[in-house]
Symmetry: C2
Subunit: 317 residues, 2 copies
């Protein structure tokens, strides 16, 4: 298998480029890693930092100079069009032309979404790309919840597709065999829920591509009842942010060292992949620290090495 | 002020009548309480228990014999019609005829809802009665979230009314002056959200009966940004059950003694009032223990003494 090539936007995130550099150093600490990392950003800013963190210009590193930066408050479409030499624009250019196999950034989220949708494009047959979040289970396992915000209003066929995309991610990236799919709902019985859930349930039940096990209630999210839970992006975003606040609560109560509660810290998950587009793209939190960057790189590597996007193309063929 | 009279279904809940009796004993421990409690249930089962818990037949207790019980699995409408001598049917009869001022039960939830809607009725002008949940804030305060499950699909005018009902409850029962109202949403900006939120935001903003402060994200629910947060009953129910699971997580991690995390234990809130109907009705968890029963009685007392329902009638007049 040829070496996987990952592009990382060194200028994205509130603490760029230093946390990106530190995260890259953590990632490269693992000598068994065989990826080639394209560091995209301002050469004059990156190079001294890379050197000071002991990152060698060896066979695992390429430098790609990007003299421009897209700021947090810039209009995504306008910025991408006007700043062709920004780290995000160059990253998407490298990805769309096949120079790299995955792209990660903690920069302007809107620009990342626009770039993903317009320069990478949706897999044929996918109605709506979606973003998932990982869910820490009390028994130590990890599940997936989607959509968590890309699609505030959904139709039943969207949720049905999220189930396929989430199952593929769980299988390819999380190594979960025949992942159990649940529908986030207000009760266990098939006829429960709002109109969306009532119409989605039969679609999931009839879908032979997934292993549907029924409804999952809010109280069951952290139990290991289902591996993949689907919902509309409005509900999912509320749940995601509530889950993130569990770590904040823990920290406020000085309980953040609890092994389980610590798993709600965003840094453990790195970033959010966009599922349903043709190549791996991972978007990080603006506040990403070194550990978050390291985990984004690992996630990108796993998505590329498992050929997640290729498998999605087959699923929707 | 004449003594408030509260009816309690002694036969409701998984541990009836013993937890109801113990809860009543806890409630009566407070000598300053001046309510008159109507104990509705099987006389032969209740009386020895009341005596063994030292509950005197004094000016604070009345016994109302109810020879029948509506079970958990019974069809609500059918059971209410056929079992006129059940504790729930008698409770609603006493309430609708003005013999008592409030009714609490941890029995068959469906029968409680049907009784509330058909024998007590909705306040004129209220489109949809709603059930709220109390939300423990990190700073020690308590807020309200509604609807949490009675109305899975909502229209903007429903959420606008929930804001009025929730504000009145926060003011009358929780003693919060000029309560701040938030709309549960996926972002802070006015134009954010699903179609429901986008259409609800301007209604809330123009509503002069409430103190609308804008959108509230999932991460802000436990912060003290708003006193009353409104959402559709689907989203609210997912949030409620997730919040309840925070206590379960705490218990699983042996952190349930944490002062804040313990506030997520359902027993602290007693039961759920139905807002928008003409008289105070409180529905308890099937698993209600003594502390939950005590808190349900306190809640009923506060709703009746503050004339919450009378104020709602004025709000919607």
């Amino acid at each position: 298998m040829p070496k996987v090539r990952i592009g990382i936007d060194m200028m994205g995130g509130d603490y760029a480029p230093s946390e990106a550099v530190k995260g890259l150093a953590l990632y490269l600490n693992d000598d068994t890693i065989e990826t080639l990392i394209y560091c995209i950003g301002s050469e004059t800013e990156m190079v001294p930092l890379l050197q000071s963190h002991g990152i060698q210009y060896d066979e695992r590193i390429e430098i790609v100079h990007a003299p421009e930066i897209i700021g947090y408050n810039e209009h995504p479409t306008k910025a991408l069009r006007e700043k062709q030499k920004s780290s995000i624009a160059i990253g998407f250019h490298l990805l769309s032309t096949g120079k790299i196999d995955a792209f990660v950034s903690a920069g302007n989220t809107g620009a990342m979404l626009v770039g993903a949708m317009y320069s990478i494009k949706t897999v044929d047959g996918v109605l709506r790309p979606t973003i998932p979040t990982l869910v820490p289970k009390l028994n130590g396992n990890t599940g997936l919840l989607l959509d968590v915000g890309m699609n505030a209003d959904c139709k039943p066929e969207h949720l049905n597709q999220f189930a396929i995309l989430g199952s593929q991610y769980a299988e390819s990236v999380l190594d979960i065999e025949n992942p159990r799919v649940g529908l986030l709902n207000v009760g266990e019985e098939a006829e429960k829920g709002n109109l969306l859930c009532q119409a989605t349930y039969p679609l999931l039940k009839e879908n032979k591509q997934i292993n549907f096990i029924g409804n999952i209630e809010g109280r069951d999210l952290f139990k290991d009842k289902a591996d993949v839970v689907v919902c509309d992006g409005f509900t999912g975003n509320i749940v995601l942010k509530m889950a993130e606040s569990i770590y904040e609560i823990a920290a406020h109560r000085h309980l953040e060292d609890d092994e389980y509660l610590h798993r709600f810290h965003y840094e453990n998950y790195g970033g959010t992949p966009i599922l349903g587009i043709a190549k791996p793209v991972i978007i990080g939190h603006g506040i990403s620290n070194d550990k978050a960057f390291k985990n984004m790189l690992i996630q990108a590597m796993q998505m590329a090495e498992s050929d997640f996007c290729g498998k999605v193309k087959t699923d929707f063929a």
